[in-house]
């Protein structure tokens, strides 16, 4: 059937159309329906594409029938079909949650704009994942970034505005760096098609423009990834954005940027060059360790739950880049599955923290910061919410039975493979830092007495709990049945890593 052939295009086009339709509808309810339908369809398409790649190998789709390398090509392999499932799946879960969640966070009259922006953001992220064209990647990056700035600015606290502005400046610098890098690559190779670039880059990568391109792309993407020390925009953005936006961004935005990093490093430049001839592995190692220890350590001392888990995200990104720096199948596979596993767990946590914020918010006041004094003794009134956060936290720690354990297993295995025992110790010790901040939450929610002035309130509403618990369930599910995550990640790593030693 002809429609099935066009799934790669529909994957991006459907969410893209849903955004202007949502604006035109001008009604919150209708806009919600349109964007949610688009997101669910996108999720179904992503699964279909993943199955297609699983059955018959990489898929190439020429946009507008212009043959690559002249036209823009959408190209699906193991890695990005996996990313599509993550991104569209998170959108499919976050959207139903948003309906109830933004009720008190965003003025009623701009709800339809919120959905339009979420649709655009989804478009950008899906486009970044699916495209096989370097400049197209930049354009989708900007689509997702611009809509993200708007989404963050929609938070009710006025600091959301400054957070969005700060992210706009840093994000635009990052994107411009990326486009400079792509420009150099284009100048040297004469092509923008990533697959076409591979052979041509091999000839010029040792030249000065080639290295400059690498440097610009590395810095630019690292800014979007929030790789410490380029992470300053992230804590404020996650803290002050509306709850569902924090969850969506934490689960997808940095992950797709990491995907772009993997794509440029392993597909375009090729690991044989990057990891053998350049001091890149050492550099990534140092930065990753810095992120793992510094950010996890800072997280322990945060009073605002959202900010705490934002710092935790920066730390977890360190694990992902650490896996990449090993340049082995196990290491890269660990990174790829941690993209997914951490995305799901952190998404669940932010959704549940959002449910807490919703309960603490009154109609009149701005949402209060979910500080430890405010959440004291909360487990009694919100048992499901708190228990869900604990399970998500266990996945951050890497307790067996949760998704986080699986990625940690492969990460440690990769370190053992390299014979670097001190790294094994570092990985495991830094995951103990996660125990400290997760247990701060446990002690506050379960053992402290509720503050005297707090009104009694019940469990979060089901419309918030069900999406969040879907993700909590996924966190446990992917800790036990890992055929999807581990299978995809290992095969993707086998396609990416050529540097078999």
């Amino acid at each position: 059937m002809s429609l099935a052939q066009h799934l790669p295009a529909l994957q991006v086009v459907l969410p893209l159309i849903s955004a202007p339709l949502a604006v035109l509808s001008r009604r919150a309810g209708l806009a919600f329906l349109i964007v949610t339908a688009a997101a669910w369809t996108a999720f179904a398409i992503a699964i279909a594409l993943w199955l297609q790649v699983d059955l018959s190998g990489p898929v190439s789709y020429p946009i507008g029938n212009w043959e690559p390398p002249w036209g823009i090509e959408y190209r699906l392999d193991r890695l990005n079909s996996f990313m599509l499932v993550l991104v569209s799946g998170m959108a499919a879960v976050v959207l139903p949650y948003s309906r109830a969640s933004i009720e008190r966070e965003i003025p009623q009259e701009s709800h339809y704009l919120f959905y339009a922006m979420l649709g655009l953001c989804l478009t950008g992220l899906l486009g970044m994942s699916i495209t096989g064209d370097a400049f197209n990647l930049f354009v989708f990056l900007e689509i997702s970034s611009l809509s993200t700035y708007v989404l963050i600015a929609m938070g009710r606290d006025r600091r959301a505005l400054t957070a969005a502005y700060q992210y706009l400046i840093m994000g635009s610098i990052g994107a411009t760096f990326i486009v400079i890098g792509i420009g150099f690559l284009y100048l040297m190779t004469g092509t923008l098609n990533l697959a076409d670039m591979v052979d041509r880059v091999a000839r010029i990568e040792n030249s000065r423009p080639g290295l400059a391109a690498l440097a610009f792309i590395t810095v630019g993407v690292s800014l979007k990834v929030a790789l410490a020390p380029l992470h300053q925009w992230l804590p404020n953005a996650y803290t002050y954005a509306p709850s569902s936006v924090s969850a969506f961004l934490a689960a997808t935005a940095t992950k797709v940027a990491l995907y772009a990093l993997i794509r440029f490093y392993f597909t375009v430049f090729g690991d044989a060059f990057l990891f053998e001839k350049l001091p890149l592995p050492k550099m990534m190692l140092v930065l990753s360790l810095f992120a793992m220890f510094f950010a996890n350590f800072i997280a322990i001392f945060q009073d605002n739950l959202k900010r705490l888990f934002a710092y935790s995200s920066i730390g977890q990104i360190g694990y992902i880049t650490l896996g990449l720096s090993f340049d082995s199948i196990d290491g890269v596979a660990a990174s790829i599955m941690h993209l997914f596993n951490h995305g799901v767990a952190k998404g669940a946590i932010f959704l549940l923290v959002g449910a807490i914020v919703a309960r603490l918010t009154t109609r009149q006041s701005a949402p209060p910061a979910p500080g430890f004094d405010r959440i004291a003794g909360l487990a009694r009134s919100m048992p499901w919410t708190c228990f869900g956060i604990v399970i998500g936290g266990l996945s951050l720690i890497g307790v067996p039975g949760t998704a986080g354990f699986i990625s940690k297993w492969y990460l440690v295995l990769a370190a053992v493979d390299k014979g670097q025992w001190w790294l094994v110790g570092a990985i495991l010790f830094s995951s103990l830092l996660a125990v400290a901040y997760v247990w701060r939450f446990v002690e506050a929610a379960y053992f402290r007495a509720p503050p005297a002035g707090r009104e009694a309130f019940g469990e979060a509403s089901l419309s918030l709990l069900i999406p969040a618990w879907l993700l909590v369930g996924a966190t446990v599910w992917f800790g036990i049945d890992t055929s999807f995550t581990v299978g995809s990640a290992i095969e993707a790593a086998q396609q990416l890593v050529h540097n078999h030693k």
Binding site: P400, G401, L413, W421, V424, V435, I480, D481, T482, V486
Partner: protein, 491 residues
């Protein structure tokens, strides 16, 4: 039901029971009825496994495969059988005891208590029946997490602090040492299954073997090897039934069980030969040092906790001696110490419930008011000290025979000395309780005229004491199981 279904039933029933407990939250009688019925049903499942295992079969059940080639799988072999029997059997008794204790002391959050208890038994059985290191690790961590709410049950600052130490040490050691040990085993051996004779390749360098052994031994923090023993005294803030079943039986025995299992089924005696001296030294030191601390502790539960630390190292030493006889002794000691120590803890809880006394110096003449409790205590104490013909003597006998056969006289010396210390910290309590007149200056109102503890407590304590006697008189099944360890027909 066939054997595979029995294994799964034993693991699933406590979880079902936990659900039943949650549902019957409103009615304490139904809730505790559910607990008891579940406990009996689980024990019935486990008991039915004994005959096939004695007959030499080691049934295997494989569930899911979280990592390629690494399934969550269960295999019942003699050592796990012993541990499973002890944990599930004593759960019944402990449930009877809990009813008396929790009601007698008007504890809060009793539903949470019973739920966590049922789930910890499921986790302990998961450890007992685990077929590979991954499964063991999975249930090991679950057991740590699920017992955390029990340790911090009181919710006070002291309980919170105890919980921190408990979780910090158990999580910390398992994450920092046990997990890399498992991953390294997988890396060098290509499997983490438990197999008789071990799985490590014969060519592994002695230095690597030593490091790996150290990672395992300190990684299994539940075995309470010094210097990672402090979680056990810290866990004593929990209600006494928790201390009794979990911190004298399920949790700590899960630790030493894992130690024996790793030594016998992962390393195997041939690859370890000559590399375990340091371990014997550390465990020997733990035996003596913990006994000395116990000698000086006036708090009853603290004394018992340090006694447990010391007794656990008996089993570590027994495993490290590597002689077949001492392995039999190790398995027997898991049983004998469990029966004895749970009786002692029951006595501590009985005294606390009836008289609200926690310090040994307050126990003068208490035996006359609580004759059942203190008689049972005496039986448990004699077994732990290792007086013939009690089962504690049998297990020690096997361990020491093994040590002699391996020519390790120093081990025998440590055991002699420690037996004396055991007697020195347990017998004075008996003496105080029965032969000293009650002191009258410490009577404050209500606790002046207490009698025996509530009936469920007395029943439970008599059952465990009787259990000790029965095991002492008829140790054949236990010895039969213990002798089959490491020889089973596992692939």
């Amino acid at each position: 039901m066939n054997v595979e279904e029995l294994i799964l039933a034993a693991l699933v029933l406590p979880i079902v029971g936990a659900l039943g407990i949650v549902v019957s939250n409103r009615s304490p009688n139904v809730r505790e009825g559910v607990t008891l019925v579940t406990a009996v049903a689980v024990f019935a499942c486990v008991v039915q496994l004994v005959a096939p295992v004695l007959a030499g079969s080691t049934p295997l059940v494989s569930l899911v495969e979280p990592l390629p080639g690494l399934p969550v799988a269960f295999r019942v072999e003699p050592l796990g059988m012993l541990f499973g029997l002890v944990a599930s059997g004593l759960w019944i008794v402990n449930s009877i005891y809990s009813i008396g204790y929790m009601r007698g002391n008007n504890e809060k959050n009793q539903t949470r208590f019973y739920v966590c208890f049922a789930l910890s038994i499921a986790a302990a059985l998961g450890i007992a029946f685990s077929a590979n290191l991954l499964t063991l690790f999975l249930f090991y961590e679950i057991l740590t997490l699920i017992t955390y709410p029990l340790v911090t049950h009181a919710g006070t600052d002291k309980a919170k602090h105890g919980g921190r130490v408990y979780l910090g040490i158990l999580m910390g050691t398992s994450m920092l040492f046990l997990l890399p040990a498992i991953i390294y085993t997988w890396h060098v051996a290509g499997t983490v299954d438990f197999r008789p004779g071990g799985i490590l390749p014969a060519g592994l360098a002695p230095a690597s073997v030593t490091v790996l052994l150290a990672l395992f031994m300190f990684g299994i923090g539940k075995a309470a090897l010094m210097p990672f023993h402090r979680w056990l005294p810290a866990a004593m803030v929990a209600p006494t039934p928790v201390s009794a079943l979990l911190h004298a039986v399920a949790v700590v025995k899960a630790g030493v069980f894992s130690v024996v299992k790793v030594v016998v089924y992962v390393f195997g005696s041939s690859i370890l030969a000559g590399t375990t001296q340091w371990l014997i030294a550390i465990a020997g030191f733990t035996i003596l040092a913990a006994s000395v601390v116990a000698l000086n502790a006036d708090n009853f539960k603290r004394r018992l906790a340090y006694s447990t630390v010391s007794q656990l190292s008996y089993i570590v030493v027994a495993a490290a001696v590597l002689a077949p006889l001492s392995t039999v002794g190790a398995a027997l000691h898991i049983v004998s110490h469990a029966l004895g120590k749970i009786t002692l803890f029951f006595a501590a809880g009985a005294i606390y419930t009836a008289a609200h006394k926690t310090e040994i110096s307050q126990f003068d003449g208490i035996g006359r008011r609580m004759p059942w409790t203190m008689t049972a205590f005496t039986i448990g104490a004699l077994s732990i000290i290792g007086i013939p013909p009690f089962i504690g003597f049998v297990s020690k006998w096997y361990i020491m025979s093994g040590a002699f056969s391996a020519g390790m006289l120093s081990v025998a010396a440590v055991f002699m000395l420690s037996t004396l210390l055991n007697a020195a910290y347990l017998l004075p309590i008996v003496h105080r309780a029965f032969f000293r007149p009650p002191r009258h200056d410490d009577h404050h109102g209500h606790d002046g005229h207490h009698g025996e503890a509530p009936l469920p407590i007395v029943i439970a304590i008599c059952i465990t004491a009787a259990g000790t006697l029965v095991a002492s008189l008829f140790p054949d099944v236990l010895i039969g199981l213990a002798q089959r360890i490491g020889t089973g027909g596992a692939i």
